[in-house]
Subunit: 123 residues, 4 copies
Amino acid sequence: MIFIDYNDKRPIYEQVTEKIQTLILNGVLESDSKLPSVRSLAMELSINPNTIQRAYSELEREGFIYSVKGRGNFVKMNENLIIKEQEKLLIKFKENVEELRARGILKEQALACINEAYEEVER
Amino acid sequence: MIFIDYNDKRPIYEQVTEKIQTLILNGVLESDSKLPSVRSLAMELSINPNTIQRAYSELEREGFIYSVKGRGNFVKMNENLIIKEQEKLLIKFKENVEELRARGILKEQALACINEAYEEVER
Amino acid sequence: MIFIDYNDKRPIYEQVTEKIQTLILNGVLESDSKLPSVRSLAMELSINPNTIQRAYSELEREGFIYSVKGRGNFVKMNENLIIKEQEKLLIKFKENVEELRARGILKEQALACINEAYEEVER
Amino acid sequence: MIFIDYNDKRPIYEQVTEKIQTLILNGVLESDSKLPSVRSLAMELSINPNTIQRAYSELEREGFIYSVKGRGNFVKMNENLIIKEQEKLLIKFKENVEELRARGILKEQALACINEAYEEVER
DNA sequence: GTGGTCTAGACCACG
DNA sequence: GTGGTCTAGACCACC
């Protein structure tokens, strides 16, 4: 389910954090479902358990999961979080659009990209 | 003209590189115009000359400037580079749009962002 | 394995870069094998770690190695790279031949050089 | 006749030296013919006279030209020099061929390059 | 321990 | 004065 890209310059714990975040936000991991244990996931990806531990800590800090001592880590999903993340994404998107405009990319090109991406899904 | 944000996690040399790149691509710095010398810019930003040196090296490697020993660094602009950078930007944009869609943001919202950014300029 | 020639006018980092490149391209260093750490190689060659760092950065930029923070630098070999380097070499070779011709060296002499070099290996 | 390439990383005086050398060795400049004066060539290329001076000094040191005080610089051609330069070229060529072989380029490819370059001239 | 960035200060080649 | 390289020494993030 998770893959580590050693060509990616980002730290491993961040890659893991982000991948799990995406799985949660895209609804692949349901609320209250159990995540793999720190040690088992570490073994599966053949990386240091500390790294997984750090990823899980980050996720907990950001409110994506909760941990129960002696039982494991679980997905904590709620509408608020989804909305907050959507807002973050939109802010990033607006900055991106602004950059496009500043660099002389036409409105039509931008619109075409959107149509392209969204029509794909209707198929 | 250039500002260093010490809260930004990116390295200083990268911030400088990116800022100058933007100045060139947005047409603020014209082709063959002279950039400030390594030492003077370092002093102005109160950072080490080596850091500016590195930024300038990156810019040269990427084809944005050329350096002449004993004379200075100069802007090297050409159409190809502008187009190549626009393509890069569009690819990044498409990924961004794709992410929006995956996270459940409606097409209408995306279109609204674009209209907003591009209408601003018509005013 | 690596030697620095202080009579060579080229910068040290470039000599190191080139030597390691050759080791990789000639198959001496296998894919995914670990390179010596920045500090240890610096000590071995009794030069500054920054210089090795720079050599490694260049190698990474050119796609010969990849670095993993906290782990080390590793050889990244692939067929594409070998072919690309062969093409570069051939282009350089053609320029060289062209120069020979312009300077009045006979075709026979050039052919003799090639026979000499390639026969050596058949022995 | 001479062009300075500011994208070339070599120093200007070296570019000038090399270009004039080539002109001499290829027989474009005949023996005892007068070279342009330091100042006029400097003006023509819009570079510093010191730079031309240095190029001419190098050429004199290597035996390609001789200078007569108050009269100017003149081409000094002789068979020995041509042969010496040819030998230099051949040594460089042999190294190049050796490199080709080490990198796994086939003898046939090398021969093809030579045939190509030399047949062109027969046309 | 690893790589990566930065500073301070020095030296060289070039124009 | 200009860019380019190098050293020495430091600090940080990551594993």
